[in-house]
Amino acid sequence: MKKFGKVGAVLVTLGALSAVALAGGPVDQQLVIDGEIEMITRTEAPDGHPLDEVISGWHYRTGETRALEADTFENPGMLFVEQGEAAWNKIEGTEGKSCASCHGDASESMAGIGAQYPKWDADSGKPINVELQINKCRTENMGAEPLPFDKGGQKELTAYIKHQSLGTPVSIDLDAGDMQSWWKKGEEVYYTRTGQLNLSCASCHEQNNGNYIRADHLSQGNINGFPTYRLKQGALVSVHNRFRGCIRDTRAEFPAAFSDELMALEVYVTWRGSGLSVETPGVRQ
């Protein structure tokens, strides 16, 4: 007991010192895109959420990075969204169709849709995300091959579709089908410590959001900006790519993209960001 008393005292003292020495925490600013679209980047957490407030990763980035996202001409991710638009209109497969053949103008047909994914897919008896929904359309309606993970324009088309929900609050339906049990499974994945470094998602994004880990400012790990442009990689990055990257960094073997494990995690982490505006394509470090 003596030892623990000592630890507690030390932590309290040093916690106070840290706050003075380093300027952590989310920045207090509002994201308005092109001076028009007022984005919800901070909001009250949904019932059952471990945190009081849900905060977009945008608040944890540098002033330069935040400015890039606030201007669609400056946002490097928009180049890929344009490529996604071309993919939307491209005829592929044996049926001679493009996405547009059935869905027409994406700015109308896809408005607000991306904010509702992942959603329940009764056919497969699993949740489906935008990437897999595109593949389902390709194989069932276009007579085209499914796009492999992160390839063939998958990230760009996903970003284009989600971009049609820019500003719409994330809201997924957990009452549909068996979504509850996938949410539960995702929660388990979120709190499971992995790898030699023995870290869970929660170790950084719940317990330490707002703190610096070396040069990295830890966010809550919300995914409302995905696919997001990452300056570090100079590329558009998909959610499952980032999940795998994080797990890999704990020095663990990581699950396959779109595996049940990562689909469950996508359901759960999307829910954790409920109420935040879709920012796709977000801009991050």
Binding site: L22, Q196, N198, C204, Q207, R214, R251, E253
Partner: protein, 154 residues
């Protein structure tokens, strides 16, 4: 036959053991933290504080700076704030306690502690295949870091 097989097996074991852990070194699964302290050196060879200072900062080794700030390493640009600042750490903890904290702080603090055990096999699930059974730091690197930390006084 059976005797010989056992002998072969135990020789093989001994060989593996000596590759992984130098002689005189306490293997990670034999380390016993008692009352939040590890009195005995893991190697019997005194730690080198100069080496320890480097290992502390090295991103591929201790990477302690990822989480802890320390004024002694001001020349390094980024210091983390996930863990407590370490200025004066040797005034607050004994060498034996520092050794135990570096080896596996979860045994001192709580299972919730974010800090990895640097000389422990108490790790997460699905460890990368080439790292199974291996520790983040070698026993001597732990001793070096402990030697370094004992010099950090206010």
């Amino acid at each position: 036959m059976i005797g010989r097989r056992i002998l072969t097996a135990s020789l093989a074991c001994a060989a593996t053991f000596s590759v992984a852990f130098a002689s005189g070194t306490v293997a990670p699964d034999k380390v016993e933290i008692v009352d939040g302290a590890l009195e005995l050196s893991l190697t019997g060879t005194p730690g080198d504080p100069v080496e320890g200072r480097k290992t502390f900062a090295n991103r591929k080794l201790g990477n302690c700076l990822a989480c802890h700030a320390i004024s002694d390493q001001k020349e390094q640009l980024f210091h983390g704030e996930v863990g407590p600042e370490l200025d004066g750490v040797a005034d607050r903890w004994s060498e034996a306690e520092l050794r135990a904290i570096v080896v596996n702080s979860k045994e001192l603090f709580s299972e919730e502690t974010v800090m990895p055990g640097f000389y422990s096999l108490d790790v997460g699930v699905n460890v990368r295949k080439d790292l199974i059974g291996k520790t983040i730091l070698t026993a001597q690197q732990v001793e070096d870091i402990v030697a370094y930390l004992t010099t950090i006084k206010e």
